[in-house]
Amino acid sequence: MPVLQLENIDKTFGGLKAVSGFNMAVEKGEIVGLIGPNGAGKTTVFNMISGIYKPSAGKVYFLDREITGQAPFQVCQQGIARTFQNVRLFKENTVLDNVRAIYHPRTGYGIFDAIFRTPRFIKNERSISEEAMELLEALGLQDRAGEKAMNLPYGAQRRLEIARALAGKPKLLLLDEPAAGMNPSEVARMVELIRYVKEKFDLTVLLIEHQMGMVMKLCERLVVMDFGQIIATGLPAEIRGNQLVLEAYLGKGATVA
């Protein structure tokens, strides 16, 4: 049973067909890369999985349950978490609170517990805080727990987004350009981090990325999009030499030496 299955997905905005005939299955434990030139429709696919857009046609299945058209918060609570192309942290909140927020409302206590500070509240708050700190430690952010998210350097912000995504104990992690704006050594570290996180938390990963260094090193399998459609799938080595893919990125008649 694939963790994620997209079946004949179409998405039309007004007159523009952003995605058409999209079929994809992601198996448990895979790291799959969704690549393609800008405007190919990759983030639109992510948004349809997340529930931000409803597909114009087709279905989305997560762990064999259909989630097409569900509200974003429901999709997330089923076990799909994501990061964003442009970092979207809770800027004025602390690093720790960015992570702790995600436990809501599965905190184990209700509003009366919170207001009257019952033993149940204290116990559950403690375990939430401890779990959150462990996540921060896994991502090297434990020393910055009390800082405001907006004061973090860019790389740390990206890591915080991942920590926040992990707080919901997801089974599937969608990463939207996690290495955007990074230099080669930072990219290499991000590759290691994603591998580490995937192993430690037993995840399946689907990522959008333009940095070919990351894509080739990290992804076990690639799905290539252009103009809303899949133009190629396969192993990174195969995709590297694929004529259609080259033309999509570099223009018609392109070759690689």
Binding site: S50, G51, I52, A71, P72, F73, C76, Q77, A81, R82, F84, R88, L89, F90, K91, E92, N93, T94, V95, L96, D97, N98, R100, A101, I102, Y103, H104, P105, T107, Y109, I111, A114, I115, F116, R117, F121, I122, E125, R126, S127, I128, S129, E130, A132, M133, Q142, D143, R144, A145, G146, E147, K148, R164, A165, G168
Partner: protein, 339 residues
């Protein structure tokens, strides 16, 4: 330097509160503070309660409400008419009437909130503004459907049972309630919605539920404050609950600094005393200038400090000690910032 333990902090806080209470009580009974200023102090505390409600709605959850006075007024009238007709001056009924004021305001907030809270900031503002005007028109014409409410001439007859004791301790309870709400998963969910509603939704937070909860809670607190107001001022008049009053609450929350309970509390109390003080300072001859000076102070204050006085910061005693393994670590979340 090790932080004070949680128990020690709580005891200190309670002791300080009792001390303040005792001091003011002494000053009032010995008439060092005369009845006029006693009333001003009570007014300041009632305004604080109402403003804390708006602080939850706007300061912490980012929902721009320009109709807060309507809920304050609904609570006032509900509590007032209940106690006036059924209460017969008994204290238990007084408390019941306060709860009824809160409940009526909260219920109204639920009814109006469910549809309008999906509106974006500016639009939510005018929707709530419009609601406030609708409520005011309702109050002006209330004598048509319930003569005891008095319509545009106002309602009198609510037993004046609220004295400093009641006002002080209820304000204290409200502060504790709000603080416990803010420093919990609920508060974190609220600020996440404020910071980035879409991201919060995608990260699994039911933002609609959070917004409605914050709105209902905030408006219920306004209703509670209104109920207290009805028992401290013998005469309720619709003009006390108009847009200008909503704006009073808003400016207290904004000037105090969004996301800061301390800011709201200090600004609410200071602002009421400032306005009364102006009356005093200007005296008979220049009393007409009171409105002009009030407006000028407001404009100057916001230009000088657009983020508010306490933007995002809290007084230490309101911040809970971090729990569990965070003890002794640097920072630790809700502590160190108001979020």
């Amino acid at each position: 330097m090790p932080k004070a333990t949680s128990a020690k902090k709580t005891i200190l806080f309670l002791a300080a509160t009792l001390a303040v209470y005792a001091l003011v009580r002494f000053l009032e009974t010995s008439e060092i503070i005369n009845p006029y200023w006693q009333r001003v102090l009570d007014q300041a505390l009632i305004t604080t309660m109402g403003a804390l409600g708006l602080s939850i709605i706007y300061g912490f959850t980012g929902q721009f409400s320009l109709g807060h006075a309507a809920f304050f007024g609904l609570g006032a009238y509900a509590a007032g008419v209940f106690d006036k007709t059924l209460g017969q001056g008994s204290l238990p009924m007084f408390v019941v009437s306060l709860l009824i004021g809160a409940a009526v305001a909260g219920l109204m907030a639920l009814i109006i909130g469910l549809p309008i809270l999906r509106l974006r900031s500016d639009y939510l503002g005018i929707a709530t503004l419009g609601f406030g005007i609708i409520v005011k028109v309702g109050m002006d014409n209330s004598s048509k459907f319930m003569p005891v409410l008095g319509g545009a001439t106002g309602m009198s007859g609510t037993p004046q049972l609220a004295n400093f004791d009641w006002v002080f301790w209820f304000t204290f309870l409200v502060i504790i309630l709000v603080r416990n709400f803010v420093f919990s998963s609920y508060g974190r969910a609220c600020t996440s919605v404020r910071e980035d509603e879409i991201a919060a939704e995608i990260m699994g937070i039911n933002t609609t539920k959070v917004k409605v909860l914050a709105f209902v809670l905030g408006c219920a607190l306004a209703g509670l404050a209104g109920g207290m107001y009805a028992h401290r001022y013998p005469f309720l008049h619709p003009s006390s609950f108009d847009f200008l009053k909503s704006f009073d609450f808003l400016l207290v929350v904004v000037l105090g600094g969004l996301g800061s309970m301390t800011g709201t509390i200090i600004t609410a109390i200071s602002w009421v005393f400032l306005l009364e003080g102006l009356r005093f300072v200007l005296g008979e001859t220049f009393i007409d200038f009171r409105g002009v000076i009030y407006a000028l102070i407001l404009v100057v204050a916001i230009i000088m400090r657009p983020q508010g006085i306490f933007g995002g910061k809290e007084a230490g005693f309101l911040i809970p000690k971090p729990l569990g393994s965070l003890a002794g670590r640097k920072g630790g979340g809700n502590a160190g910032s108001a979020t």
